[in-house]
């Protein structure tokens, strides 16, 4: 009986070199690839073009990403695809004609644009707006803020693959657009806020619709939060992502929920109240870490605070006119036009020529859903603004994007863009 030979261990194999050998055999030539070092391959980066037609860029934003594998080493935003030259248009139109242009800049919160422009011109003219108009401005603006945040909530959740929030957000936003339609006849570009007051007083149906919103929306926002606030996938994708420190946020000129998400409780409605915001009691929600999740929480809480403001403004809505009694900007009433020649002439002149503002320059900012929306208006004493500079909140917030996505995964860029809540109409103007 002979002993079995000892078991030989299999020869050590290098699958990679085997593949290479195999490939060389297939090609039948010497490729000279022996010197390729796989480690070296890993050091080169790839440039990837994202947008301008990418669905998650919320409009027409183009990003040139320098990628190391899946990690973003550099991000260069390319904007201007929606540049419309509104600032030049303002110079060619009289003050009333400028109002519809302001609607179309930040088209998801047009009333804030109306308000900022009107407040700036009213300061130039030294006009006071009646209390009822101020309260109605606040009501319409806060409704718009909720509508804008709802749209943001729906689309940014959709970017991360959650389809349901989008449908729920749309259901609720419709209610708010119905109110826009009721008061102005238009769902989005309302031009409802005018220099000296409002387009018109609200119809009787308005009260029912707004009180329904005040009554039902707290429950609706609970529903929205129930969908994703504690959802493990949502938290996994957003917590610790796109962090910007308070220092950096300030240096980039960020404002609104981006600044507040980093822990700075700055809200122009509190800090420099306009349009009687100082009459209302509300809180300014802030985040702690400055990441995507905190910005999400800030916006959700802001909707609740807006409802608080709405409740107070709606229940204390004063009676009275909704337009200033200053005849420089307000049209004479109909019965006066029928009886007074001067009123007829003045009506004609106001409609055709508009009004003149004193020489000067003024900067007026309002807290839009996206941050500080400012209007710097230079007047040369004519009926048209000499120069209007719009300080767009999305513009400054977007300029911080390369900082936020540096070193993140490419799939997370989408989440960060969503969390800034940019609107390209606002960025490019």
């Amino acid at each position: 009986m002979t002993a079995l030979p000892p078991v030989q261990p299999p020869p050590s194999r290098d699958p990679l070199s085997e593949q290479y050998e195999h490939g060389r055999d297939l090609l039948g030539v010497e490729t000279g690839l022996d010197s390729v070092d796989l480690v070296q391959l890993g050091e080169s980066t790839m440039e990837l073009n994202m947008g301008p037609q990418h669905p998650s860029t919320h409009g027409v934003l183009r990003l040139v990403l320098e990628l190391d594998g899946e990690i973003v080493r550099q991000c260069k935003p390319d904007i201007g695809y929606l540049h419309t030259g509104f600032e030049k248009d303002f110079e060619r139109h009289n003050y009333q004609q400028c109002i519809p242009y302001t609607d179309r800049m930040d088209y998801l919160s047009p009333l804030f644009n109306n308000l900022g422009f009107s407040l700036a011109v009213e300061r130039l003219l030294g006009i006071d707006v009646p209390p009822r108009a101020q309260y109605l401005r606040v009501i319409m603006c806060e409704l718009t803020r909720i509508a804008s945040h709802l749209l943001w909530y729906g689309t940014s959740a959709l970017d991360l693959g959650a389809t349901t929030p989008f449908v729920y957000a749309w259901r609720d936003r419709e209610k708010l657009l119905d109110i826009n339609e009721l008061v102005s006849g238009v769902r989005m570009h309302t031009s409802f806020i005018r220099v000296g007051g409002l387009l018109a007083d609200v119809p009787d149906e308005f009260y029912g619709l707004v009180s329904e919103v005040i009554k039902t929306f707290p429950r609706r926002i609970d529903e929205h939060e129930l969908l994703i606030t504690k959802n493990p996938i949502w938290r996994e994708r957003t917590i610790g992502l796109g962090v910007i420190s308070a220092e950096d946020a300030m240096s980039y000129g960020a404002s609104g929920p981006v600044l507040r998400g980093s822990g700075i409780p700055y809200d122009l409605r509190k800090a420099q109240p306009y349009s009687s915001y100082d009459h209302f009691d509300f809180d300014v929600p802030i985040g702690r870490n400055g990441d995507v999740y905190d910005r999400y929480l800030v916006r959700m809480q802001e909707m609740r605070e807006s409802l608080k403001i709405l409740d107070q403004a709606f229940n204390n809505l004063p009676d009275g006119p909704v337009n200033s009694s200053d005849r420089r900007v307000t049209l004479p009433p109909r019965n006066e036009i029928n009886t007074s020649m001067e009123s007829l002439i003045y009506h004609f002149k106001l409609v055709t020529e508009g009004f003149r503002t004193p020489v000067g320059h003024v900067y007026q900012a309002v807290e839009s859903p996206r941050g500080e929306l400012g209007f710097y208006i230079v007047s040369d004493g004519s009926n048209r603004p000499y120069r209007v500079k719009v300080r767009a909140p999305s513009f400054s917030n977007l300029s911080a994007l390369p900082h936020m996505v540096h070193g993140e995964l490419i799939a997370d860029v989408v989440a960060v863009i969503g969390s800034i809540d940019i609107l390209l109409g606002d960025v490019d103007r």
Partner: protein
């Protein structure tokens, strides 16, 4: 109910804090000061701009750390010896809840100001926009390219002499406007904005 304008009158003037600070620390940088509509504007010497903004950002009495915007205003009808452009800076201080406005005047033949991107990171895009739309050059900016308009765009649209509408068709009242480029006068007649 106090009116909005009474409330504004009772509030300290916006930017007065910054104006005082600059006048105290860097008095020779201030060319002019003016208050209008509750906002104080400080006209700054061009070469002292970076120094002034660093002071406003870092000094405990200032803390103007948020760059709000940079833009320019074109005044082509000024006297020939007056600078044509006003470069306007607006900063915000959260600590003191204040905004301030600085203006630097630059002449037409050298429309340049020092770049502030080292002082405020957010100035980068604002300066590129002002360069794009008004042709102001920001010396020291690392990447001064057009931002909103295509790279091959000609001219700077927010300048007042930029004709953005109409075509040069010859009528009796605008013969000079329809002249060929080299014979056209430097200033266009009538309204060009």
């Amino acid at each position: 109910m106090t009116t909005a304008h009474q409330a504004e009158a009772s509030r300290p003037v916006h930017g007065a804090r910054a104006a005082e600070l600059i006048a105290r620390e860097l008095p020779d940088a201030v060319l002019r000061r003016g208050v209008a509509y509750g906002e104080e504007t400080v006209w700054i010497a061009r070469e002292r701009l970076v120094e002034v903004c660093t002071l406003l950002r870092d000094h405990a009495d200032g803390r103007y750390r948020i760059p709000l915007h940079v833009t320019a205003v074109d005044w082509p009808d000024r006297e020939p010896d007056e600078p044509r452009f006003d470069v306007v800076y607006q900063l915000r201080s959260l600590q003191h809840n204040d905004t301030c406005r600085l203006i630097v005047r630059v002449p037409e033949d050298d429309p340049s100001v020092p770049s502030l991107e080292k002082v405020f990171a957010g100035m980068d895009w604002h300066e590129r926009e002002a360069y794009d739309l008004l042709g102001i050059t920001f010396t020291g900016h690392h990447d001064l390219r057009r931002l909103l308009l295509p790279a091959d765009w000609e001219g700077h649209p927010l300048r007042k002499d930029y004709v953005s509408f109409g075509e040069p068709v010859a009528f009796t009242h605008n013969l000079e406007w329809a002249l060929p480029e080299q014979e056209r006068p430097r200033d266009l007649p009538g309204e060009t904005r």
